[in-house]
C-alpha cells in the first residue's frame, strides 16, 4: 500500500507547490516591470503552437491574458489540443524567465521556458444547435420570404412594381 501512497503524495505536493507559485496572466502582464528577467511560473490553456526549428512558440492563455512561451519543439509536440471554439486546449504549467520586452524576439513579451509540464490533455467540445434558435430562425426566414414576395405582389397589383436595376451590367 505504502509504495502506491508515497508517489501519489509526492506528485500531489509537487503539483500543488507548482500551482501555488504560478502567477496569473493578469498579474504578469500588469506588473511586467517587476517580473522582467525573473524566474516565473505560469499556468494556462494552450491556444496555439508554432514550431520553429528546434524550438517552438506555444501561446498560453490564463483568464483572458495570453503570453507566448518559447520552449523546445519537443515540448510543443507533446501538446494534443489547442483551444478554440470546439476544443478545450491542453493545460500546461511552465516555469522560466519572463521578459516584458524580449531582446531576442523583437521586443515581444514572452517566457523562455526551463520547465514545461503538461498538466491535463484537452478535449473536444460538443456544441449542439439550440432547438429554440432553430425554430425561431426557420419561422422568421419563412416570414421574411413570404413578406418580400407578398408585398412585392401587392405593389405589382397597384401597378407600382419596382424596376429591376438594369443599369448593373
Amino acid at each position: 500500500m505504502k509504495k502506491f501512497v508515497l508517489p501519489i503524495v509526492v506528485i500531489l505536493v509537487l503539483s500543488m507547490s507548482g500551482l501555488a507559485g504560478a502567477e496569473s496572466g493578469k498579474v504578469l502582464i500588469e506588473n511586467s516591470r517587476d517580473f522582467d528577467g525573473n524566474q516565473v511560473t505560469f499556468q494556462g490553456e494552450v491556444i496555439g503552437v508554432m514550431i520553429r526549428g528546434n524550438n517552438a512558440w506555444v501561446n498560453v492563455i490564463d483568464n483572458g491574458f495570453a503570453i507566448g512561451i518559447w520552449c523546445s519543439a519537443e515540448n510543443a509536440k507533446s501538446i494534443s489540443f489547442t483551444g478554440d471554439y470546439t476544443h478545450v486546449g491542453d493545460t500546461v504549467l511552465v516555469s522560466g524567465i519572463f521578459h516584458m520586452a524580449c531582446s531576442e524576439h523583437g521586443g515581444d513579451v514572452d517566457i523562455h521556458a526551463d520547465n514545461f509540464t503538461l498538466l491535463s490533455v484537452g478535449r473536444g467540445v460538443e456544441r449542439m444547435p439550440s432547438l429554440l434558435a432553430v425554430v425561431v430562425s426557420v419561422v422568421l426566414m419563412i416570414l421574411a420570404i413570404f413578406l418580400i414576395f407578398w408585398l412585392r405582389h401587392l405593389r405589382k397589383e397597384r401597378g407600382k412594381i419596382v424596376p429591376w436595376p438594369m443599369h448593373w451590367r
Partner: protein, 518 residues
C-alpha cells in the same frame, strides 16, 4: 474633396426649409436596400460555419438575415416612392445607414454570445463597419470561426469597399442615387464616369489586394509554423482587415500571437496599400506610376511616417523600454504605421501601452491617429490631403505677407492633377479639421472624467474617432456603458467625417420643431 464639404454645408442650409414626409420616404426607401444587403451579407458566414462544423451558429445568422429582410421588405413597401434622392437625402441616409447596418449585423454576434450584451455586440459591429477595430469580445481565441469571419468581413465590406455605395449601385434605380451616396459617405471618387464602373473598379482593386494580402499572410504563416488551414483562415481575415485599415484580429493578442517579423511585414504592406487613395491605385493600375511620387498625400504620408517613426523610436530608445534596434524598429515603427494608416494592428499588449510605454510616444501615436491616411482611401482621421492643403495655405499666407502688396501669390497642390488652392478648398479642410478636434476634445474629456490618465484618454479617443483600433486597454467589456456609447458615437462620426452628423442633427431638430410637413 474639400469641395464636397462645401456642398454639404449648403445642404445643411437647405434643410432649414424643413423636412417633408416625402423626404422621409425617400430616405427610408433607400435605407431598405441597405437592410437587404446586410441580410445577404449574413448568409456568407454560414459557409464558414459549415466548413468548421459550427452548426450551432447557423440559426443565429439566419435570424439576423431574416430580421434584416423583414425590415427591408416593410420599409420598401410602406415607404415606397418613385422620387429620386437629392444630396440632402443622401447625406441623412448615409448617416442613418451607418447606424442601421451595424445594428442589424450585430444580431448574430449577440445571439452567438460572442459579447456580453447587445450593446457590446453593437459596439463590435460599429467598430467593424467603420473599420475601427476596437473590440469588446472577451474571448476571441475561443470565438466561433464563423462569427470571427463576420467581424472581419464587416470591416472589408464596410470600410474596404463601402457598403452604402455598393448597395445602391446594385439595388438602386438610377446612377444618381449612387453618385449622391458617394458624397453622403464623404467619398469623392471620380475614377470612371459611370458609377457602376466606378463601383466595379473599387471592388476590383479591393479583391486584387485581398488576394495578394491573403497569399502574403498565408505564406508567412506557414513559414512561421502555422498549419496551412489556420494560416489561410488567419491570412484571409487579416488581409481583409489590413486592406480595410480595420485592425480586427482572429487572436486576442492581435499580431503579437505570431511572434513573426514576416507576418508584420505582410501587415505593413497591406496597411500602406489600404491607406492610399483609390484614385491613385487606379492611376497606377492604368500605368501612371509616377503619380505615386508626385502625389501630395503620398509625399506627406512618407514624411509623417519618417518623422513620427524617428520620434517614437528615439523616445523608446531613451526610455530603455526596448534594448535592441530590432525591437525598437518592430515596436516603434510598426505602431506608427499602424496608427498613421488608422489600421490598429498591434504587437504590444494594450496593458503595456498604458503601463509601460512613455507618454511622449503615446501622444505622437495619438497625433498620427488624428491625422490619418489619404482621402478616399479606407483609412480614417482628418486625412493627409486636408493637412497638406492647410499646410500649403499656411505657407502661401506667409509668402503673401512677405511679398509686396502688388504680388499675386497662387498656390496649387498635386492630387492626381494639379489643383488650385482656392479659399473654398482651404475653408472646407479647416472646417472638418476643427470639427475633428472638437470631437477629440469631447471624447478625451469624457474618458478623463471616468478616471483614466490624460495620455491614455487621448490615445483611446483618437483611436475611436480616427477609426484606428489601437487600444491602451481602456476599451474592454468592463468599461462603463457611457464610455461605450461615447466611443460608438465617435467611431460613427469619424467614419462619416462629421458633417453628415451635423446635417442629420439639423434634420431631426427641424423635424421636431416644425413637425413633418406633408
Amino acid at each position: 474633396m474639400p469641395a464636397a464639404r462645401g456642398s454639404k454645408i449648403s445642404v445643411g442650409v437647405s434643410m432649414m426649409f424643413g423636412a417633408t414626409r416625402e423626404d422621409l420616404r425617400i430616405i427610408g426607401y433607400n435605407l431598405s436596400k441597405i437592410c437587404y444587403v446586410v441580410g445577404a451579407i449574413l448568409f456568407l458566414p454560414i459557409i464558414v460555419a459549415v466548413a468548421y462544423s459550427e452548426f450551432d451558429t447557423i440559426p443565429y445568422f439566419l435570424i439576423g438575415a431574416a430580421v434584416s429582410f423583414i425590415l427591408g421588405a416593410l420599409m420598401s413597401h410602406f415607404l415606397y416612392t418613385k422620387k429620386e434622392m437629392e444630396l440632402k437625402h443622401a447625406v441623412v441616409m448615409a448617416a442613418l445607414a451607418w447606424l442601421l447596418a451595424p445594428l442589424l449585423a450585430s444580431i448574430p454576434i449577440w445571439l452567438a454570445s460572442a459579447t456580453g450584451s447587445y450593446l457590446d455586440a453593437s459596439f463590435e459591429s460599429i467598430s467593424g463597419f467603420t473599420g475601427t477595430g476596437l473590440t469588446l469580445v472577451p474571448d476571441i481565441d475561443h470565438l466561433a470561426h464563423s462569427v470571427n469571419f463576420l467581424r472581419h468581413f464587416l470591416q472589408f465590406l464596410g470600410d474596404g469597399i463601402g457598403i452604402i455605395v455598393i448597395s445602391l449601385s446594385i439595388l438602386g434605380r438610377t446612377e444618381m442615387n449612387s453618385v449622391l451616396a458617394f458624397k453622403g459617405e464623404a467619398k469623392d471618387l471620380g475614377i470612371r464616369p459611370s458609377i457602376v464602373r466606378t463601383s466595379r473598379v473599387i471592388i476590383g482593386i479591393a479583391v486584387t489586394f485581398l488576394i495578394i494580402g491573403t497569399v502574403l499572410f498565408t505564406v508567412a504563416g506557414v513559414w512561421e509554423g502555422l498549419d496551412p488551414g489556420t494560416a489561410f483562415f488567419d491570412g484571409l481575415n487579416h488581409s481583409m482587415t489590413g486592406y480595410a485599415t480595420g485592425g480586427f484580429s482572429t487572436r486576442s493578442q492581435n499580431l503579437l500571437y505570431y511572434h513573426s517579423i514576416w507576418i508584420e511585414v505582410a501587415a505593413v504592406v497591406m496597411m500602406i496599400i489600404g491607406a492610399i487613395n483609390f484614385n491613385l491605385h487606379y492611376a497606377v493600375f492604368r500605368g501612371r506610376r509616377r503619380e505615386i511620387l508626385k502625389n501630395i498625400e503620398v509625399r506627406l504620408l512618407l514624411v509623417v511616417l519618417l518623422v513620427f517613426g524617428l520620434l517614437v523610436s528615439a523616445n523608446l530608445l531613451f526610455s530603455n523600454m526596448y534594448s535592441s534596434g530590432d525591437a525598437i524598429f518592430r515596436k516603434g515603427v510598426f505602431h506608427v504605421i499602424s496608427a498613421q494608416t488608422t489600421t490598429g494592428f498591434q504587437t504590444v499588449l494594450p496593458a503595456h501601452f498604458m503601463l509601460l510605454w512613455p507618454p511622449f510616444s503615446m501622444v505622437i501615436l495619438s497625433f498620427a491617429m488624428v491625422i490619418g491616411g489619404c482621402a478616399n482611401s479606407t483609412s480614417g482621421g482628418i486625412k493627409l490631403l486636408r493637412v497638406g492643403v492647410l499646410f500649403k495655405s499656411f505657407v502661401r499666407d506667409i509668402k503673401r505677407t512677405l511679398l509686396p502688396r502688388t504680388a499675386v501669390v497662387r498656390g496649387t497642390f498635386h492630387h492626381i492633377e494639379d489643383t488650385p488652392l482656392t479659399d473654398t478648398v482651404v475653408k472646407g479642410a479647416a472646417l472638418i479639421t476643427v470639427s475633428y478636434l472638437i470631437l477629440f476634445a469631447f471624447g478625451t474629456l469624457i474618458t478623463v472624467a471616468h478616471g483614466y490618465h490624460l495620455d491614455d484618454s487621448m490615445f483611446e479617443t483618437s483611436s475611436a474617432l480616427g477609426n484606428v483600433g489601437l487600444s491602451s486597454g481602456i476599451t474592454s467589456p468592463a468599461m462603463p456603458p457611457v464610455l461605450k456609447v461615447t466611443y460608438m458615437f465617435l467611431m460613427w462620426a469619424g467614419k462619416l467625417e462629421i458633417m453628415a452628423i451635423f446635417v442629420l442633427i439639423g434634420f431631426v431638430i427641424l423635424g421636431l420643431r416644425r413637425g413633418i410637413e406633408r
